[in-house]
């Protein structure tokens, strides 16, 4: 089983649309939506839920108001401004550090695991699919991404691939999305912001010694920046495995809950199939060393 993580420096580059398209074209695979802060794949992938669990992200302080003596020490010690004047915890600000517990003379505060979302594994026509939905204001973490990736292994049936829709950015959740993956495919756009974001996300992949590949989406929007991206990839040794043209039809299809593949968009479909075959070839090459 090989795991391919699709990432992007920022959101909205077409990463999920690409993964959703590949979910039709690639056989014998499982899918994991690790973009836990803004999950989208579940909108296109309906299926029967096989497993559904509450996710407890981190601990949070709870004050027992019956025991609290209102001495104000907890509020003064808290560095996150998470305790109000009325000596109440402000859950969205609490880091769960427990400093308040340590200073409370009345033992009125305790740390408790707080539910911050739910994880799901579903059987879909396109394969077993693992994802998570966070509660409002809750934050994704490496732990949640690890849980999403781990959940899928419980349903492993000799699939050949795991396609991971990774989270954008460069932080902890991205790192948890790509560790242990066999390849990282960065989806980028030829925009001023796209190139600088791509550089950073590839640094992360390199740091983890995972072979990195690049797909330039909407490449014809700006030929100069596309050339700059290709130059950057050449210097960095990241093969450009796909160049997908800008096509308003992709958005129109999406508006009907369809990937370009389902909408019968031949040009884009051919390019995505070509991207996959190049990825396989390049991975074989990389393993040949």
């Amino acid at each position: 089983m090989k795991q391919i993580a699709f990432v992007s420096g920022k959101g909205g580059t077409g990463k999920s649309t690409l993964v959703a398209s590949l979910s039709i074209l690639v056989r014998n695979k499982m899918l994991a939506d690790c973009d836990v802060d803004a999950p989208n794949l579940h909108i296109l992938l309906q299926g029967d839920v096989l497993k559904n669990e509450d996710y407890f992200g981190a601990e949070e302080a709870f004050i027992d108001s019956a025991v609290c003596v209102k001495c104000d020490r907890c509020r003064q010690i808290c560095r996150f401004e998470a305790i109000s004047q009325k000596i109440e915890i402000i859950p969205m600000k609490c880091e769960g550090c427990g400093a308040c517990v340590l200073v409370c003379p009345a033992a009125a505060i305790r740390l408790e695991e707080a539910r911050s979302g739910q994880t799901y594994v579903a059987r879909t026509p396109r394969g077993t699919f693992s994802h998570a939905l966070l509660d409002i204001g809750a934050e994704g973490s490496g732990k949640l991404v690890t849980a999403v990736r781990k959940n899928i292994h419980g349903f492993y049936k000799n699939e050949e691939w795991v396609l991971i829709d990774g989270s954008p950015g460069i932080g902890c959740v991205v790192i948890a999305s790509i560790t242990g993956a066999d390849a990282v495919v960065a989806v980028t756009e030829p925009t001023k912001t796209g190139l600088s974001d791509l550089e950073r996300v590839m640094q992360v992949a390199r740091h983890f010694q995972i072979p990195g590949f690049v797909c330039i989406n909407k490449y014809d929007l700006n030929p100069e920046i596309t050339a700059e991206i290709e130059e950057f990839c050449k210097r960095g040794g990241y093969p450009v495995i796909g160049k997908i043209p800008f096509d308003p039809a992709v958005v129109s299809a999406l508006q009907e809950f369809k990937t370009p593949v389902e909408a019968g968009n031949c040009e884009i479909t051919a390019e995505i199939m070509y991207l996959w075959s190049r990825l396989l070839k390049e991975m074989e090459k990389a393993e040949g060393f």
């Binding site: 732990k143 790192i175 550089e199």
Partner: protein, 126 residues
């Protein structure tokens, strides 16, 4: 002598877990008696700092050598401070790795692999 291996399961037939901090299990083996213990890795359930947490557990268990895939710089510093040898395991079963270790076929690692937070990269200034 006691050695620790990161494992995907509880038995010696399980595959090695390539992760250290977020490994599913630690197999702790006494090389003299061949007795072993499978320890669920509580560190895998922490939101952050799983590497240091796991290394602390391993150190507290009195292990002299660790066989795993990738150790991040934080965990490596803990293991080094505890004088625990680190060996790079193969993506094979725990038994295979133990055999290779006994025959001196595993490479000793001194260089840290990638980690979550311990990255030395700083942002490029534009």
């Amino acid at each position: 002598m006691k050695i620790g291996l990161t494992s995907t399961g509880k038995t010696l037939d399980s595959m090695m877990d390539q992760r250290f901090g977020r490994a599913s299990y630690f197999i702790l083996l006494d090389t003299d008696t061949s007795e072993f213990e499978a320890l669920p890795n509580e560190a895998s359930m922490t939101a952050g700092g799983s590497g240091t947490f796991a290394a602390q557990v391993i150190a507290d268990k009195g292990v002299s050598a660790v066989i795993t895939g990738n150790v991040g710089p934080n965990a490596m510093n803990v293991l080094k401070a505890a004088d625990i040898g680190i060996y790079r395991g193969y993506p094979a079963t725990i038994n295979d790795n133990i055999e290779k270790y006994k025959r001196g076929r595993l490479e000793r690692v001194d260089q840290a692999g990638p980690s979550h937070f311990g990255m030395s990269l700083k942002r490029n200034k534009k």
